[in-house]
């Protein structure tokens, strides 16, 4: 083998998507590759300039990809060794969409267009890679430029790879014959509010399509006589796609032919039309649209439908590289919205409640740390009624909460196995009873009481009279802060689960059972941090419930947090994101999300971060043991 070719092969092998290819294939790519040198400051591709004829893979140096919009440079990305650029205009072939400038002396391997197209057609890994990396640049073409940056930095969500075309295609296809006049065709399009019309020949075979664009460009702009037949302005041939193909296939074809409409064929017959707009809608589900959508729903069924996109949003956010805390914040916002809506429906159903009440979220929901739809954990507190109305009030709220529980279930929130729900009479109580519960748990911290306090003390008011929540929190923080015995019990709980890191820096994983060789991220990583931070918050009368907000509030109040705040935040974000990604994979595969991660599936960097995280937890636990040493049992 020739040494210089070998070097290129070795390089490409370390770079996605070539790493997925066999040596032979890489070799065949290499012999068509050229090496180009761009001194610092060279414009390699120009916005709106000629399309790229190559895929540029950076061997050395780096480039800045940016767009100039209204005299302002929007940096889209920086790419460095092993990254590539030039793909989108290579695929679409019309024009380069951004400027690419060398920010250092840069050497690139240039792989010719036909080689890349060949790889994309032949190897799904290559296709998937490029689609994920670059496709949104194409899809947002119709969007306003200001939105460019936002969507360009996001990657195509898995949904493109899992949704068959037929699911989102417009089923109703309206067609006309090729001799129909332009005027008539435009009228039909208006009447049906459609943006495209299929043109059939005399044998009923689709031969072309006219779209809004054709009418604009070929009729209005060129002052064509509208009595001419549509065949004079139709676009052809019409590109087809099978109904069973996944949406990314549709994207590939739109890109390849630089068109926005595809004819969907099912069992040899016309089934519908799919447009780039359909695809944008599919992946463009934004948290804002969901929230807005939820807001206008008036029935449980409507809510169920509107809340369907939540998992997609989470997936989008994950693939966009959002921070875990931002994702959980958005999920919290959406879930809170669903709960509020359901409670409003319940009020509508049962009439206004006899006394003020407040709906409380508990556990992870209370801490705003929910990821995917998890068990219901909630409670209800109502204003103390007079003894005479007690019974009626109790009855009202039990029916009320039962309705809410069932509605939440319909929306995909399974009931809590431990029955910690407002529908359980025990957890649907007046304020005074709640105070009694809290004081009992704190003054006699044993067994179940400790566990309950861990769940309930993260309570957060979601709906109703929030002064009830405030009142209860004042009470709690007031009685808990000097209860050294109780806090000692909590400390004991927080150090109970040692991080799974032995002295030899290898992971200690589950030894047997279904999750053998897996790591329970929640119990071994997330829970210890949550527990430690809750303990500190109760010590220092912090009112926040979310772990990250608690850390921020504790910065100036607690010496341990002061010293470690940034590290803890980083570790917590990392663990949450790992868990979220894992659960998202499971959701996509149709499995129930769990917390068991296979350490071997992590990248080396992630393994290292995880070890650092566990070392931090271990350190915090040691500090805790030191501070509470008399209390540890």
């Amino acid at each position: 083998m020739v040494k210089i070719i070998e070097d290129v092969i070795d390089f490409l092998k370390s770079v996605p998507p070539f790493e997925f290819l066999s040596d032979e294939v890489i070799n065949s790519v290499t012999v068509k590759t050229s090496l180009e040198y761009y001194p610092k400051g060279t414009y390699i591709l120009l916005q709106d300039g000629a399309p790229s004829e190559f895929l540029y893979v950076i061997k050395k140096g780096g480039v800045k990809v940016f767009r100039r919009v209204e005299n302002e440079d929007i940096v889209i990305d920086y790419r460095s060794e092993g990254d590539s650029f030039g793909f989108v205009s290579l695929m679409s072939g019309d024009k380069s969409r951004a400027n690419v400038v060398a920010i250092d002396d840069t050497i690139c391997y240039l792989i010719p267009k036909d080689i890349i197209l060949g790889l994309i057609n032949k190897y799904s890994e290559v296709r998937d890679f490029f689609l994920r990396s670059f496709m949104n640049i194409y899809l947002d073409k119709g969007y306003r430029e200001e939105q460019y940056k936002r969507s360009i930095t996001s990657t195509v969500d898995k949904i493109l790879f899992t949704t068959p075309v037929e699911e989102i295609a417009t089923k109703e296809v309206i067609s006309v014959t090729e001799n129909t006049s332009i005027k008539e065709a435009a009228k039909i399009m208006c009447e049906n509010s459609i943006s495209s019309l299929i043109i059939m020949d005399s044998n009923g075979i689709p031969v072309g399509i006219i779209t809004d664009k054709d009418l604009r460009k070929k009729v209005v702009a060129s002052a064509r006589n509208v009595d001419e037949p549509v065949k004079n302005i139709m676009s052809y041939p019409i590109i087809k796609i099978d109904a069973k193909d996944f949406c990314f296939e549709a994207v590939v074809r739109m890109l390849k032919y630089n068109i926005h409409h595809l004819l969907v064929i099912k069992n040899g017959k016309i089934h519908g039309i799919i447009t780039n707009h359909d695809i944008m809608m599919l992946q463009g589900l934004s948290p804002i649209t969901i929230v807005r959508d939820l807001e206008i729903q008036q029935t449980i069924e409507g809510l169920i439908n509107a809340s369907k996109g939540v998992n997609i949003i989470v997936g989008n956010l994950i693939s966009q590289g959002a921070k875990a805390s931002n994702i959980t914040r958005i999920i919290t916002e959406i879930n809170d919205r669903i709960v509020k809506k359901i409670i409003q429906f319940a009020e509508r159903e049962f009439g206004q409640p006899p006394v003020p009440y407040c709906w409380l979220a508990l556990g992870s929901e209370g801490r705003k740390e929910q990821t995917f739809k998890t068990d219901q954990d909630n409670a209800l507190v109502y204003a103390d009624p007079s003894p005479s109305e007690q019974e009626a009030v109790q009855k009202y709220f039990l029916e009320f909460t039962k309705y809410i529980k069932e509605s939440l279930l319909k929306c995909g929130f399974p009931p809590c196995p431990g029955d910690i729900m407002a529908s359980n009479p025990k957890w649907c109580q007046p304020l005074k009873t709640w105070k009694k519960y809290f004081s009992q748990w704190i003054y006699t911290p044993k067994g179940e009481n400790i566990n309950l306090s861990n769940i309930f003390f993260d309570f957060r008011g979601i709906y109703g009279d929030l002064s009830l929540e405030e009142n209860l929190r004042d009470y709690l923080l007031n009685i808990v802060k000097d209860q050294k015995v109780f806090l000692g019990y909590l400390a004991n709980l927080a150090v109970r689960n040692k991080p799974p890191l032995g002295f030899f820096k290898t992971f200690v994983v589950e030894k047997s059972g279904e999750h053998k060789d897996k790591l329970n991220l929640k119990i071994k990583g997330i829970a210890p941090i949550v527990d430690i931070i809750r303990l500190f918050s109760l010590e220092k009368s912090v009112r926040e419930t979310s772990t990250l907000e608690r850390i921020d509030s504790l910065r100036n109040k607690h010496t341990v947090v002061r010293d470690y705040a940034d590290e803890i935040i980083y570790a917590f974000e990392f663990l949450m994101l790992l868990r979220m990604r894992h659960q998202y994979e499971q959701v996509l595969q149709g499995n129930v999300p769990d917390n068991f991660i296979d350490p071997e599936s992590l990248s080396n960097l992630e393994k290292k971060l995880l070890k650092d995280t566990f070392q931090l937890i271990s350190k915090l636990q040691d500090i805790l043991i030191e501070r509470y040493k008399l209390m540890i049992i």
């Binding site: 020739v2 040494k3 210089i4 070719i5 012999v31 590759t33 050229s34 180009e36 040198y37 002396d105």
Partner: protein, 230 residues
């Protein structure tokens, strides 16, 4: 005389050609020694370029059985091809023919290209009776010219070896003294030097040849000798 005439006529034709559209072949040879009359080629490495673009797949590399059996110990030390290895190599004739068809109509580029060319010309003439008379460009001459122009630092003047020049320009120089690797390194040097020339608005082949054609320049012999004092 006729040859000279032909060449000068061609030269007019190509002098206006743009460098970026020009086909180059970057060549390096490994030799049994440096004596033009006694020593022989044992390997030819070449890689094509179009303007500044290096065509990685467009390469030529052959080892040949030298017509002289006399090996110099010191050259074995340099290129690490042992006599016994060369015994197995094919005859030079067909390889020279292959090389000619590979390099045909390209401008030959090399580090001290005259040395390689003089061996190639002689071997080609004596083995297959063909006059190999390509235009040529010496990267060392461009390098020295850029130093004189003050574009490259003057302390680079001491650099003559391929390795030092490569390093001074930030080019990785590995697998030195393999004809193809050396040709590849030379190509990368040429690539960078052409950028400097382009910055000076030197864009046509004619201007390039004026700077870097060893036939025209006077100090090539000195350069050659300096370069090979390894």
């Amino acid at each position: 005389m006729i040859k000279f005439f032909r060449k000068s006529k061609e030269k007019k034709l190509i002098s206006q050609q743009m460098i970026i559209d020009t086909n180059f072949v970057v060549v390096d040879t490994e030799l049994t020694g440096l004596n033009e009359f006694r020593d022989n080629i044992i390997a030819i490495g070449a890689i094509k370029m179009i303007g500044r673009t290096i065509k990685i797949g467009d390469i030529f590399y052959r080892t040949v059985s030298p017509s002289t059996k006399k090996f110099r110990k010191e050259s074995i030390m340099i290129h690490e091809i042992t006599p016994s290895e060369l015994e197995k190599c094919p005859e030079i004739k067909p390889i020279l023919k292959e090389f000619i068809s590979f390099a045909k109509d390209n401008i030959v580029v090399g580090h001290c290209v005259n040395l390689d060319l003089s061996f190639l010309k002689r071997e080609i003439k004596s083995n297959i009776d063909y006059n190999f008379e390509p235009f040529s460009v010496d990267t060392l001459l461009i390098y020295k010219w850029l130093i004189k122009k003050g574009i490259l630092p003057s302390d680079y003047m001491k650099n003559n070896s391929l390795e030092n020049i490569a390093l001074s320009l930030g080019i990785e120089a590995k697998e030195l003294h393999n004809a193809l690797s050396d040709a590849y390194i030379t190509a990368q040097i040429f690539q960078k030097l052409l950028v400097y020339l382009a910055n000076l608005k030197i864009l046509t082949l004619g201007e390039l040849l004026n700077i870097a054609c060893p036939d025209i320049c006077s100090y090539q012999d000195i350069a050659k000798k300096e370069a090979y004092q390894l």
